[in-house]
């Protein structure tokens, strides 16, 4: 029998969790709904799941605490998708720092939740295991740069923030997730579009040149992203997972 992904939904609002559960079930996923952290823990004791949808604002242990527990326990590899009630950048960053893989702001549309769940599942399965972003893996280091994968920006050696557009960040992540491997344009396009369903009609070449500018990489003699004639591009430096910067 084909594997059906099992999603655990943790939300204190009965109607929301049931409607979400029903919607996901209708779309071919297996779902279990629980109301709080206690129920979540006892369910996870017996049954491992493929992904957990976790509400942040809950009585008792809130979503952030639960997420940290998950990351510290035996289910630390299970992807977590946070539901936040506030559209606030700091909440998002704290959530991602606590180890969530993605987040969605309430009120959300059910089909958007479904798309995010699928994207997270696809991404976590595609990542090489050594690059799964965990609690300590917020920072990726290469050359003179550090990439903050939560806030999605670069820091240079002085700690100056260099912002990235959404598309630039996604392309850089693809390169950093597959360092020192030649990637052709189709692969890059597929992997880049994998995370968010944003409209993306820039050619990969233009995006690469933009990214090189951002990294202050000389286009004629690039040190980071090298062109492989008639094949594609390769990220030529090793990538390290770093702890928090000093």
């Amino acid at each position: 029998m084909e594997h059906v992904d099992h999603i655990l939904i943790v939300d204190d609002d009965r109607e929301i969790r049931e409607m979400v559960g029903n919607y996901l079930k209708k779309n071919g996923l297996r779902t279990t709904v629980v109301a709080d952290g206690r129920q979540m823990r006892s369910f996870l004791e017996a049954t491992p799941v493929d992904l957990i949808v976790l509400d942040i604002m809950m009585p008792g242990d809130d979503g952030l605490v639960l997420c940290r527990d998950i990351r510290a326990g035996k289910h630390k590899a299970t992807p977590v998708l946070m539901l936040t009630a506030c559209n606030d950048e700091t909440d998002r960053i704290i959530g991602l720092e606590m180890g969530a893989d993605d987040y969605l702001v309430k009120p959300f549309a059910a089909r958007e939740l479904l798309a995010r769940i699928n994207a997270v599942l696809r991404r976590t399965r595609m990542l090489p295991p050594n690059l799964v972003v965990t609690e300590t893996g917020r920072w990726l280091g290469f050359g003179r740069w550090r990439l903050d994968t939560s806030a999605r920006h670069l820091l240079d050696e002085d700690g100056t923030m260099v912002a990235l557009s959404g598309a630039e960040y996604r392309l850089l992540r693809v390169f950093l997730d597959h360092p020192q491997r030649v990637l052709n344009r189709d692969q890059l396009l597929n992997l880049t579009q994998g995370r968010d369903a944003d409209l993306f009609d820039r050619s990969i070449d233009l995006l690469v040149s933009r990214l090189r500018q951002r990294l202050l990489d000389d286009a004629r003699e690039p040190a980071y992203i090298k062109t492989v004639r008639s094949e594609g591009y390769v990220f030529s430096l090793p990538v390290q997972v770093l702890g928090a910067p000093a």
Binding site: A85, A110, T160, L199
Partner: protein
Amino acid sequence: MKPSLHWPRTLISRLSLIFLVGLTLAQALSFGVQYYERYETAKNTMLGNLETDVSTSIAILDRLPAEERMSWLKQLDRRNYRYLLDEGSPGVALRDTPIAVTSIKEVIGKDYPMTVTDIPGPIKHFQVHLKLADGSPVTIDVRPSMVPLSPWLPVVLLGQLALMILCAWLAVRIAIRPLTRLAQAVENLDPNTHPVHLDEQGPTEVAHAAIAFNAMQARIAAYLKERMQLLAAISHDLQTPITRMKLRAELMDDCGDKDKLWNDLGEMEHLVREGVAYARSVHGATEESRRTDLDSFLDSLVFDYQDMGKDVQLSGKSNAVIHTRPHALRRVLVNLTDNALKFAGAAQLRVEPEEGDSLSVTVMDRGPGIAEEELARVIEPFYRVENSRNRSTGGTGLGLAIAQQLAQALGGTLTLRNREGGGLCAELRLPTRLS
């Protein structure tokens, strides 16, 4: 120009003037009265002396043999008058009779008929001519003068004047300074960001005003906080029911009302999010400031719009690394750009270094602009420009208010103006260093 007297504008000069004029007049009056009194006393004493002295001298001269008179003259000379044994100098008739002459006439006028002549000259000088019993002439030569003033008197008067000026200035300064401080504090009053605590020390009235001011400030801050908390609470608590309604609407069977319901919910959701964002923006200073490469920051913002197929262009380069709060800055620029896109369909961003440690980022469009009289009001929360175009696009009326609040939190200013040739220009001036 014709000089004219104006009542001075500042309280300090008015009070100084009143004090100074009053004190000087009082001082002058008391000095005048004293001087007059002294003058009268001196005069009476002097005239009394004069009467006895003149009658004695004339009697002595009269009794002396004619040849001995000359040797006595020296001893009869006084400071203001002396005796001559001749007809005296020819003079003119007196225009008025000095009191000294009156006294002399009173004492010896009965025994010796006399004539008085005035000797013209810069100093008052007159002579009294009379004949002694043996018929020889005697002239009393009088050079009247007042008892001279002591040379130190003007110095003392000047000293007094200086003392009065000093005291008036000091008193006025003491009275005015708390008022100036209070006015300054009220001017800088911004209970959210810079609470100014006035010193509650000093004279009773000043301390009282300071306490009242501090209390008022605390009250305003509390009201503002309460208003924000209310807005945040309402907005926040609406999120759960809206989430339920959205899910329910999404799971409904397709019908005409489903889309309408969906759109209405979308609008509600937007309003709620903006409400929360506005409530938070008042406390925008909570985000940590960090070194930010401004050009890449603006590039990434513009590219995100372009990648969504929006017409947003960036011109200019700052080559600046600034200290700022990136999320707040992004939110300000996103709100301004979204506005431009909503009304004009396109937005141009421009970054320029300014004089000193600041730079400006402008967001411009070629839309309908905003009527001049409404420019200042559109940044008030929930204010919407009254034109049909806006109503059809249905904003929350919070976008610019949020941008304004956050611009303040960034230590900057946001100004709106209409462009030449139509359209709106929103200019954000930022310090390169956040204090």
